[in-house]
């Protein structure tokens, strides 16, 4: 865990004052209790925790600052509470439900430490910006060994640069952001000028985090050179890829870094006084936090007519999407902001030449923008020293699916999948064998377990037949059927295709039909060949990235999971136990102990048997819901091919 060097001090009196204010708030003289209240925290019950904490602290007359923050990344452990006692390192507690909140408050009032919820401690310097050295430790700070949070498997090997403030600062508090080095980059940019900024971003080797990995410096240079008296910058916060949520994490946890990045970008491009953040409709809290941050920045003079007293004018507007995946595509996004249906148009002309309302426009992903202050703050050289040959810096991944520790992990480019899945993710949450990791969302593909040692960067993923995309990593265990997931992605792209080009509209429909037929047990011998033919036709014939990448799940199914596909088509068998027409559950008499767990769990009363005797499933009653398989502690319930006698059963539950 390398901290980001923030040794510089702000130069302007405004920032110096904000910094002092922020430092005082980050390390107050009373305990600072912060609670992760991003969307994920709230979904895990953080609102109840907040109410309970407040009541419990008040009830015990304990003086403390209660602060809402974003997400620290380890969503599996949410609600997450961080307690910083004056002069001591901060402690992190996990799964702090309302009840546990009371225990935390009781501890602060002099009671016992809720050890069961304690995850670890931060290194003192890491969390205080190196400014406030521990003085007299607080007597409440527990004695004995407490692991450093960065040594826990979930954080091991992570390099939290872009997410450095997430879960730590109050996202509505500009002073806290400045205390962490915020707006130092803008100050530098204003002092050294646009050419220097573009050069730094170029030398840092920053590539777009929205999917394609286009060099950001080159994009900015093109927009800078394009003729025009009015230009725009846009943050793409559409994050349409299901299973990926790092942009939401950044917007809810550290919105100022995105705003600062855009301000710097506007300065670099020149003639740019307006920026837009296009946020998807499903992220109301991100919109709210962003609007608060924009208002705060404007109030302080960091946005508006005269940014930091430099005479440079810049405004940011938030535009809400209305629920269309294709709007993440840059030309569709432009159409959508202009108030039209979000249909892509051919490029060139690229947005950097002809963008919003025909004017030069830079569109970057949220995470890309958030990298910009970091680069100027740490210097292009240090930034470029992290990562792999062609991919510099870090990447935030959302690690989800059948994995024990779900959350946002930020690692240097080039970290291996295995590290993320097995160390950070802590392995599988159900089942025993990793079958695949899916990257890049509907535009990406599956990687089989045999490729887990692949270093993750743009080139190696492309080489393996998938893409980085925005950074979703969906881990799939043996209870996931790859044919079914491919079908799922095709139903997604078919529904989201804007319908403008025939190959995309028709092809996704045809591929979906074939996959549906196969999953329903009607696979034909030539289906595999047909799938491949359609896949290439759609890939080659579509106008925009949606159509060009829609066949990727199919292609990687063919490439890596051909056996499973064959089993579906030829043997009419789904080994994962997902496609309901293609399997049945059976109980292995030798493994079954007759414990009765399945019998009690089955909602249909389909399981019979005497205690301590092998149980039996009544196939006529079974709906294949799988509840018994999850309930059996001995893995005695297995997926079997159907016998002819099963035909006609289970079809109409």
């Amino acid at each position: 865990m390398t901290a980001i060097p923030t040794s510089d001090r702000p130069f302007s009196p405004l920032l110096r004052a904000l910094r002092e204010e922020g430092l005082a708030r980050l390390a107050p003289k009373v305990p600072r209790v912060s609670l992760g209240m991003a969307s994920c925290g709230l979904a895990a019950g953080a609102r109840e925790t907040w109410d309970a904490l407040r009541a419990a602290l008040a009830g015990r007359d304990t003086v403390a600052c209660l602060v809402p923050t974003g997400c620290l990344g380890w969503c599996q452990k949410e609600p997450l509470v961080e307690v910083r006692l004056p002069g001591s390192p901060a402690l992190v507690f996990g799964r702090v439900t309302a009840e546990a909140a009371d225990q935390v408050a009781a501890w602060l009032a002099g009671g016992e430490l809720p050890r069961a919820h304690l995850l670890g401690q931060y290194p003192a310097a890491d969390r205080s910006d190196g400014q406030t050295q521990p003085t007299t430790p607080d007597p409440r700070f527990p004695a004995g060994e407490i692991p450093l949070i960065w040594d826990l498997p979930f954080y091991r090997g992570q390099l939290r640069w872009v997410t450095r403030n997430c879960g730590f600062v109050n996202p509505a508090d500009l002073a806290e952001y400045v205390a962490r080095g915020g707006y130092l980059a803008l100050e530098k940019a204003l002092a050294r000028g646009p050419e220097w900024v573009v050069e730094q971003v170029t030398r840092a080797g920053l590539r777009g985090r929205g999917g394609a990995g286009f060099p950001t410096g080159a994009k900015w240079q093109a927009a800078r050179r394009a003729p025009g008296e009015q230009k725009y910058v846009i943050a793409n916060a559409d994050e349409g890829d299901p299973g990926a949520y790092m942009d939401r994490g950044l917007l809810e946890g550290d919105p100022f870094s995105v705003i600062e990045g855009m301000t710097i970008g506007a300065l670099a491009v020149g003639h740019c006084h307006e920026g837009f953040v296009y946020v998807r409709a499903e992220y109301p809290l991100a919109v709210e936090r962003l609007e608060t941050a924009i208002a705060e920045a404007r109030k302080a003079g960091l946005l508006g007519e005269n940014v930091l007293g430099s005479g440079f004018a810049f405004e940011v507007h938030v535009v809400r999407g209305a629920g269309a995946f294709v709007c993440g595509e840059e030309t569709a996004l432009l159409a959508s902001i202009e108030g039209r249906p979000g249909e892509p148009r051919p490029r060139p002309p690229f947005p950097s030449e002809k963008g919003l309302w025909g004017r030069p426009t830079v569109i970057n992903n949220v995470e890309t923008w958030a990298n910009v202050p970091l680069i100027l703050m740490s210097g292009a050289q240090l930034y470029a020293s992290v990562g792999s040959e062609g991919s510099k810096g870090t990447k935030v991944f959302s690690l989800v699916g059948d994995v024990s520790n779900t959350g946002l992990v930020e690692v240097p480019m080039g970290a291996t999948l295995r590290h993320m899945v097995e160390v950070n993710g802590g392995g599988l949450s159900r089942g025993t064998r990793i079958k695949a990791v899916q990257t890049g969302g509907p535009s990406g593909g599956f990687l089989p377990a045999s490729l887990l040692d692949l270093p993750v960067d743009y080139e190696s993923l492309t080489g393996a037949g998938t893409i980085m995309g925005s950074g979703g990593l969906v881990v799939m265990g043996e209870r996931t059927c790859m044919v079914d997931v491919a079908r799922y992605f095709l139903s997604f792209t078919r529904a989201e295709s804007c319908g403008k080009c025939v190959p995309c509209r028709e092809g996704t429909h045809r591929m979906l039909q074939i996959l549906e037929r196969i999953c329903a047990g009607g696979g034909r011998p030539d289906d595999v060949g047909l799938l491949e033919e359609w896949a290439w036709a759609v890939k080659d014939g579509s106008l925009c990235g949606l159509g060009q990448t829609a066949p990727n799940p199919v292609l990687s199914l063919l490439r890596y999971f051909g056996d499973e596909l064959e089993q579906h088509v030829r043997d009419r068998f789904c080994p994962a136990g997902v496609c309901r027409e293609l399997f049945r559950f059976g109980i292995v008499p030798e493994t079954c102990t007759g414990c009765g767990a399945c019998l009690r769990a089955c909602p249909r009363g389909a399981i019979g048997g005497e205690p301590r005797q092998p149980h039996i499933i009544d196939q006529a009653r079974c709906t294949l819901c799988g509840v018994c398989r999850d309930a059996c502690p001995f893995e005695a319930i297995v997926v079997e091919p159907r016998s002819p006698a099963d035909e006609g059963v289970n079809r109409n539950e």
Binding site: M37, A43, E239, G240, P242, A244, G323, G339, R340, T406
Partner: protein, 181 residues
């Protein structure tokens, strides 16, 4: 992604009602006409007001913004957030994104359809609830996820549904905002 046009158990509004809707929608359009991409913003506000886009309102919006009705329709039918037919009062959104799919989102969706006795994308018979599948609510780490009236619930099991919906009904009134802080 086109909005469903089937209307269940709803009679068309009376002419006076239509006039009132048109007047109010026109006022909304006027107040937002200077915003960038005004059409979408206007339709969003209209939808918030009536929980769908009444035809009279769309006509008024087109007139007020000085654009053809076909363009308003184009936008209204392109985006998933817009509905041309009335929706139930409480929005029940079940995530059908990849992470939720892998962790049993489909079974949750089936359980909701069964519990509310209504197919996906439709209001319940009494218009109390509206069931909708969405493409990821950004809480993938807590999959499977359900959002009811803007409040998001993670790690939901099918057996939790009755309790969850009952708790929402019990809190009616305090539910209008998002799940914000």
């Amino acid at each position: 992604m086109s909005a469903s046009t089937s209307v269940r158990g709803i009679s068309p509004p009376h002419p006076e009602e239509e006039e009132a809707i048109a007047a109010e929608a026109a006022a909304i359009a006027r107040s937002l006409r200077d915003r960038p991409g005004a059409v979408t913003a206007v339709l969003e506000t209209v939808q918030q007001r009536w929980h769908h886009l009444p035809v009279a309102a769309m006509r008024a919006v087109a007139r007020e913004l000085g654009i053809p009705l076909s363009r308003v329709y184009g936008v209204a039918t392109f985006y998933a957030a817009f509905s041309l037919s009335p929706r139930g009062r409480h929005m029940v959104q079940v995530c059908l994104g990849t992470a939720c799919y892998v962790r049993g989102g489909t079974k949750l969706a089936e359980a909701l359809e069964e519990h509310l006795r209504t197919p996906m994308g439709q209001p319940s018979a009494d218009f109390c609830f509206h069931l909708e599948g969405v493409r990821c609510l950004g809480c993938c780490s807590l999959a499977p996820v359900v959002r009811v009236d803007g409040r998001t619930f993670g790690r939901v099991r099918p057996q939790d549904i009755p309790r969850l919906l009952a708790s929402v009904l019990a809190r009616t009134g305090s539910l209008q905002g998002g799940d914000g802080t």
